[in-house]
Symmetry: C2
DNA sequence: GTGAAAGCGCTAACAT
DNA sequence: ATGTTAGCGCTTTCAC
């Protein structure tokens, strides 16, 4: 169907090998022959088959990337970082949206191995029912390097780049305390997710270090979705012993939280203070001054990809590397304690 | 390196062909042999090579998808739609973020043809410097079906699924007029983009049909980016003969527009009315009642993918199909004309 | 400097 | 019901 290397060879009056040589700049080819071949290639509009090449070289130059939700801008930014580095190294990437679903994740993983990708960057969905990490482990044993980004799977023996979630939320909550807040609520993520758990730990730690007793009634177990942020904020706003501040564990829940606050006609920070984990671009754009803990998304992607590329080098002995990035606390005023 | 079909054959004491048969459920295999083979496959942890299969069948079952910006939730949703349908048909997709950049787009296109993808869904970046449509045309002539989503390239001879931008903005602007607005500003997109142009046309048409003279001073030529929305809204708000309403041609510029409005301490719709093209989830979430023209993103993706799959069928004669979806006008109150 | 030929892992006639 | 074999398009070793 398509024009192949042998069509080129025939038309140029040389052998396959010679064509291949000019294609790959390998071995010696007389300048004259080279030019003739190049011309024929142009003329016939030849495009080499990556498939055939991959098969022949047992090397695809393709990497797999798994994200839980492609419509979440945070992941979008991570992907930007990943693509950028991949591009520079002329690596292809196959991107899979796992829809935050272990089954889809597994299906994608299988598809990727069939495609003989040479490495995987994965942003896992959660740690629950953790059968996929077994599968990942198998892949790694088969020689496919795995790099985790912003999450943890069961076997911590994978390399990865993470955000220091504990420190991030510790800083946020401590800031609230220093502002004078004493009753600080938290809306957490699912407790089977490492990042969510760590954010909770940071919260507890900050209270403890500042001699504030944690109160169960101020702890709301959310699930990283808008709805839970909305629902629990509503509850919080109606408490008789209402906390003066809320620490919300991720961006989506913060949106829900804000909705509840606006609906109830409460003002930030006059009526209630909040700090969010994760930046929400839009808020800044709209001039809504919500303070947040900023996980470095693009950076996460870039570093993850660089780690992966390094471990692609077969010669290098594979040691497990872990890099943890410290998130930055960005204060916008929503953390302030106003006399109420 | 990896275990191959012949390893399986050897260990199971059969020939390659037989193994291939059970792998593909083709031809007859004795139940007993089948089971034995299946067992060996499990045991050796065999994963077929899609690469080898593709080469052998001259068929990759892989599609290419090009998006201008993966961090834009609108495209994220289109991708969700695409993935969903692809999944159901067991088609793989390679997704490329072109960064709204013709060169990257071209590079991705080349990469995709090397990968021998069997079809392409493309959301083009703009119509400007339109050399890629030539390339696309070449690809199509080579038998690779192309489906356009929400954009137009130079050669309108491609199939595609679009949004009726003219009608969308016509409805929006007419609504403003019916509300009593007479001075209606527009912030457009770049005039080399078909959708942007059409949205402008809808605006003009609505004015004309309602016997309102279009005033040049109310037309602001933006570029679909936040900054331009911000900048022109600032200008608008400072005009001595200030319009009572703004029609903003896309979501990003609307964000900039809102920022300018809030910064100036203007109220919607008390001080100024607006309608946006494109839904912005966050606004609803936050309880900001901005009316908008809603392009059906997920639907766009699903339909686009279905069209592509249809034209994958080689038997089918390839006719150019165009489907245009009518966007829905969602009124939230920001269009109201309040006595000022 | 160039060519011949084996091989990458699999499929699909064609035999048996 | 199963085996043999010729490709798929390319790379690479070994000859010449």
């Amino acid at each position: 169907m398509a024009v192949t290397i042998s069509d080129i060879a025939k038309k140029a009056g040389v052998s396959l090998a010679t064509v291949s040589r000019v294609l790959n700049d390998s071995g010696y080819v007389k300048e004259e022959t080279r030019e003739r071949i190049l011309e024929v290639i142009k003329e016939l509009n030849y495009t080499p088959s990556a498939i055939a090449r991959s098969l022949s070289k047992s090397k695809t130059n393709t990497l797999g990337v798994l994200v839980p939700d492609i419509t979440n801008p945070f992941f979008g930014e991570v992907i930007k970082g990943i693509s950028q580095i991949a591009d520079e190294s002329n690596l292809n990437i196959i991107l899979c949206d796992t829809d935050d679903n272990k089954d889809k994740e597994l299906k994608s993983l299988k598809m990727l191995t069939e495609q003989r990708i040479q490495g995987i960057i994965i942003m896992p969905t959660s740690v629950e029912d953790d059968f996929n990490s077994e599968y990942l482990k198998t892949l790694e044993n088969m020689g496919i390097p795995i790099v985790l980004v912003d999450g943890h799977v069961k076997y911590s023996s994978f390399s990865g780049v993470f955000v220091d979630n504990i420190k991030g939320s510790y800083d946020a909550v401590e800031t609230l305390i220093k502002e004078g807040h004493e009753k600080i609520a938290i809306i957490t993520g699912r407790m089977n997710s490492k990042p969510a758990k760590d954010r909770f730990i940071g919260y507890k730690k900050a209270l403890m270090m500042n001699n504030i007793e944690m109160e169960d009634k101020y702890v709301f177990y959310g699930d990283y979705r808008q709805e839970s942020g909305y629902k629990y904020t509503k509850e919080i706003l109606e408490m008789e012993d209402r906390p003066s501040a809320i620490f919300v564990s991720n961006n989506m829940m913060t949106l829900g939280c804000l909705k509840a606050i606006f609906e109830g006609n409460f003002k930030i920070p006059e009526d209630i203070s909040i700090i969010s984990f994760d930046r929400i671009d839009i808020l800044d754009t709209l001039g809504l001054n919500v303070s947040y803990v900023n996980g470095p998304s693009v950076e996460l992607g870039k570093i993850g990809m660089k780690m992966l590329i390094e471990s692609l080098d077969e010669n290098e002995l594979k040691e497990v590397k872990n890099i943890t990035l410290i998130p930055e606390l960005v204060l916008r005023g929503s953390e302030k304690l106003i006399k109420r």
